[in-house]
């Protein structure tokens, strides 16, 4: 028993560090000692999935569930393996149903269930599943992306595009872009108390950025006000102020701040970002948004999101081929960019390339669940329940 646990613990440690092959070996060692270990089979399934060995992943996950029907991480691995293998939608639907029953609060189970329904052409059921996911978590971006794709299939791009943009706002990647443009990074320390911030521009701006990062918009706004009281022509402060307004759905105020900042200096990427987003929220300004995001993509060519934002504006202009190119650029920079995957899927759908579109959506699912560390969340909770 102790030896089995040691091998499993070793496999877990190796897997968490991304050492797939040694982790697989350790799993097999553990199974030689105890073939009826559900977590080991579940872990092996995840490892096989990571290595794109779908049939082996299906076998291992199925075995884990046979041994223990409450082994939720195995359902996740099994569902993802069915989805990525393709052509097994009926089984996939069953698995996601099971996972939603075993873990009713697990939003991703409902999102995946919707995608399985959609792949099997049960469109109404798919939409219901995504709506259920959004009821559980209104910030679930992937459910929103899927609803946007469903809208595209039924009513075209003009109806779908606001959905893509809304999903993009829910997606943490867009805020990450802003903070990276502003040079604000999470250093693990909490934002300072505004009362303790030294009264100079640099400290105030940094603190305002840190407070905005923590979504304390009012405290951040007070500090920006202090910076602007000293220098009303501080373009960076105006860019940050614009972002705060955007986050409070005050688009015109955001636009005013951004335009003022850019009239002072065009070299303010945060203001360029704010202006582009403000334009993209207003029907009829897709051409303006495209121009602004093209400039942003040129200014920060190594970041995927400006390319995605540019692509979305192109969708609004019915320039689907160009949009596809911009999405592909974003995916070259970051293959795990879920927003670009869904956008590219939309472009492929407009081109009648359904199989490729579905493939992009499946890849998005893979990266999204990986990004969330969902397997490990379920796995750790399962191990805790067992102990």
């Amino acid at each position: 028993m102790a030896e089995r646990s040691q091998h499993l613990a070793l496999a877990e440690g190796l897997a968490r560090q991304g050492h797939i092959q040694p982790a697989v070996d350790a799993c097999y060692q553990a199974l030689r000692i105890d073939e009826r270990s559900a977590p080991t089979h579940g872990l092996l399934a995840e490892l096989m999935l990571t290595g794109d060995f779908y049939d082996e992943a299906i076998d291992s996950a199925t075995r884990a569930i046979e041994i223990d029907p409450s082994c939720s991480p195995a359902y996740l691995a099994l569902g993802l393996a069915y989805d990525r293998r393709g052509g097994m939608w009926d089984q996939s639907i069953l698995v996601w149903h099971e996972l939603a029953e075993v873990e009713p609060e697990l939003v991703t189970a409902h999102v995946q269930l919707g995608e399985a329904f959609s792949a099997a052409a049960f469109d109404e059921e798919a939409i219901d599943a995504w709506r259920r996911a959004l009821e559980l978590d209104p910030t679930e971006a992937r459910a929103m992306y899927n609803l946007a794709v469903a809208a595209l299939k039924r009513e075209g791009m003009a109806t779908a595009l606001p959905g893509f943009r809304k999903a993009g706002e829910l997606d943490p990647s867009q805020d990450e872009l802003f903070f990276s443009l502003a040079g604000i990074y999470d250093d693990g320390n909490p934002a300072p108390d505004p009362a303790d911030v030294p009264e100079d521009r640099q400290h105030r701006l940094e603190a305002a950025g840190a407070l905005a990062f923590e979504e304390d918009y009012f405290a951040s706004a007070e500090l920006i006000r202090a910076v602007l009281d000293d220098d009303p022509e501080d373009a960076e402060a105006l860019g940050l102020a614009g972002y705060l307004y955007l986050k409070q759905e005050a688009t015109n105020e955001a636009m005013a701040c951004a335009l003022r900042a850019l009239s002072i200096t065009t070299r303010t990427p945060t203001a360029v970002y704010v202006l582009g987003v403000a334009f993209s929220k207003r029907p009829g300004l897709n051409r303006h948004a495209a121009r602004v995001f093209a400039a942003l993509a040129k200014a920060v060519p190594k970041h995927p999101i400006p390319h995605v934002l540019f692509a979305e504006s192109l969708l609004g202009l019915q320039k689907y081929t160009q949009a596809g190119q911009a999405y592909r650029t974003a995916l070259e920079l970051d293959p795990s960019c879920v927003r670009a995957r869904f956008g590219l899927a939309a472009v492929l759908l407009t081109d009648g390339r359904y199989a490729e579109a579905m493939w992009e959506i499946r890849r998005a699912a893979y990266y999204d669940t990986s990004r969330q560390g969902l397997f490990w969340q379920l796995y750790d909770a399962y191990i805790e329940r067992r102990s």
């Binding site: 595209l152 299939k153 039924r154 009513e155 075209g156 791009m157 003009a158 109806t159 602007l228 009281d229 009303p232 022509e233 501080d234 402060a237 105006l238 102020a241 005050a250 015109n252 105020e253 636009m255 005013a256 701040c257 951004a258 335009l259 003022r260 900042a261 850019l262 009239s263 207003r282 029907p283 009829g284 300004l285 051409r287 303006h288 019915q318 320039k319 689907y320 081929t321 759908l349 407009t350 081109d351 009648g352 390339r353 359904y354």
Partner: protein, 219 residues
């Protein structure tokens, strides 16, 4: 002049005077500013002035918000129209009889509509006679038939036969779907004038056909 107008519009914003802001727009249009240029030449500079006033403390937070509300009220007067202008070109779109695949048809139809074309969407599973009826009813000279299986794709020939029999040889028949994309000869065999390979391709083809018809003096 443009700076002046922008200053006047800014003043209307902070005075919470939407009627005054609209009057500035009308004046700019009367003096020759095109509708497409109003946003860049008038609204954006006025918004920049507004941002500057807020930054300098010339107006407080409340006045800034109220001015933004006025800006919202007149935004539709200065932004370019969200949908394209009516091209006057009518296009009939439908899925072939016994074919229930709707996605391509929906996406193509919506794209053409967004581009300003008049789209008559017949839905899926449309009998050839219905295409003919709608051509005669609407006067459309372009028909797009979608078919995603070999069987339904082959039967598109019946649409062409029906149009020809009724004396509508001039109607441009475009086809869409996997079988046609895979085998262009199939499109020729069913009497199609072209293959639509997605929404953007539909736009290009319809615009080309419409331009050719215009050049030839057709309706």
């Amino acid at each position: 002049m443009a700076d002046d107008a922008a200053a006047q519009m800014y003043q209307a914003f902070v005075s919470e005077d939407p009627a005054g802001a609209i009057a500035v727009v009308e004046k700019a249009k009367a003096s020759g500013t095109a509708q497409a240029d109003l946003f860049d030449q008038l609204f954006a500079p006025a918004m920049s002035l507004l941002g500057g006033a807020w930054a300098s403390g010339a107006i407080d937070e409340y006045a800034f918000t109220q001015a933004a509300v006025v800006a919202e009220q007149i935004a539709s007067f200065v932004t370019p129209p969200a949908s394209a202008q009516d091209t006057g070109v009518t296009v009939i779109v439908g899925g072939m009889h016994r074919d229930y695949h709707a996605i391509a048809k929906n996406v193509i139809g919506a794209t053409l509509k967004e581009a300003g074309h008049r789209v008559v969407d017949l839905g899926v599973d449309v009998r050839p006679a219905e295409f003919l009826e709608r051509v005669e009813e609407s006067g459309a000279r372009i028909v797009i038939v979608c078919a995603e299986t070999i069987g339904t794709a082959s039967s598109v020939v019946r649409v062409r036969e029906m149009l020809t029999t009724a004396g509508h040889e001039g109607v441009v028949l475009l086809v869409s779907g996997g079988p046609f994309a895979a085998d262009v000869d199939l499109a020729k065999d069913v009497g199609a004038n072209g293959v639509v390979r997605g929404a953007e391709s539909a736009l290009r083809l319809v615009e080309r056909v419409a331009a050719e018809r215009l050049a030839n003096g057709a309706d």
